[in-house]
Subunit: 228 residues, 2 copies
């Protein structure tokens, strides 16, 4: 089956590392779903503005999905347990399709241009292949539970700023400061087993290079520079 992107998603997350692992984890994040021709017809979005949340089906285009393996170790679950790829939301999967439920903030101007969304977990530049309204009456069954092991809440990291980084951040707007802090707090590090405790991490987010490390369970943002 041949499918064609209908839109491009623009977000704060300019690299795989740092992109949140689920929607809503980084509340300060914003995104735009910009329709591609011929889908940029105002009529194609008619009525969507009155809806609170939308499904995005998109392509994990920075991952080679021929690399899929039957099992994965979800990093959010510590990387210690193997699950079948179809029992996870791993991006390393056959067909490389992602599915995210995002809050709709409104429609972009001019009419037909696209959607403004909140808190996506999707990389900047990602091709979107469908947009569908969320239907809570049929898509929120009361008796549902995820695969065993997925119930554990996400462990957020405490975050502090070095003096130098805090000084550089003073020039950013408040949303970007919150975005950076929340992205680090969401703990984008790889699973325990692949982790070097002294590792320094670098992320590219909203036009900045952010350097940080973790000491005694607290993340310290050490460096903040406009990306070159």
């Amino acid at each position: 089956m041949e499918i064609t992107p209908i839109a491009t998603l623009y977000s704060d997350f300019e690299a795989r590392f740092g992109t949140p692992r689920q929607p809503g984890l980084v509340p300060a994040a914003r995104g735009e779903v910009v329709m591609r021709p011929p889908y940029n017809d105002p009529e194609a979005l008619r009525g969507l503005e009155s809806c609170s949340h939308v499904w995005l089906i998109f392509g994990f285009d920075r991952i080679d999905n021929r690399d899929w393996r039957p099992t994965v170790r979800p990093p959010r679950l510590g990387g210690n347990r193997r699950y079948g790829v179809f029992a996870t939301r791993s991006p390393f999967r056959p067909n490389g399709l992602g599915l995210s439920l995002v809050r709709l903030e409104g429609l972009l101007a001019p009419a037909g241009r696209g959607l403004a969304i909140a808190a996506p977990d999707i990389m900047d530049g990602t091709p979107v292949v469908d947009i569908k309204p969320y239907l809570p009456a049929i898509e929120a069954p009361a008796d549902a539970h995820p695969p065993a092991g997925f119930e554990a809440p996400n462990q957020a990291l405490a975050v502090i700023w070095s003096e130098a980084a805090a000084g550089a951040a003073a020039d950013c707007d408040e949303r970007v400061r919150a975005l950076i802090e929340q992205t680090v707090a969401a703990d984008p590090r790889p699973a325990y087993r692949q982790r070097d405790p002294n590792e320094r991490y670098g992320m590219r987010i909203a036009g900045f290079e952010v350097g940080w490390r973790v000491e005694d369970g607290t993340a310290r943002i050490e460096r903040l520079l406009p990306a070159g």
Copy 2:
């Protein structure tokens, strides 16, 4: 983007007409998601058995998706209001991808063969391009609402059987009788504006041809024959 079916969905719904318009509408319906090679590896489904509901992303392969139009009139909403195609779950959409949340009944034997599911709204023989676990903690936001106009509950039809049809149904097993009755009750007729009040409807479901009509708001099943 080129995508390849990973599985085939087998269901009771052998024709477009009669296929329910949302999952769960016909509780007696059952389906099997049978993995295609090389995805029929027991490891690829590991852990899924402990999950209550799964997302299926599938292709509306009996519809030519080049026929999409910017707006549609959802039949369930009476066919009187136009919505943008991306504000609906219409199958007549760019890329022709469907998304359904279905209850997982269990894994098929032998291991790796696939999934048994309940109450699908998907046609027999449909190609499935992804299976993902449902994650209620992030996919059931408490403050969600659908596009304006979608809140109306589905109006079920009362169903009676003619003597002849009831006689023929006596030979069916109880699940198939319930399946047929629930499928008619879900009111698969087209929207009001395209409807002839004297129309006789025929559906093909679970190996039967079912003939019915509606009089004074009650559906009467008139005919039940093994499909030729």
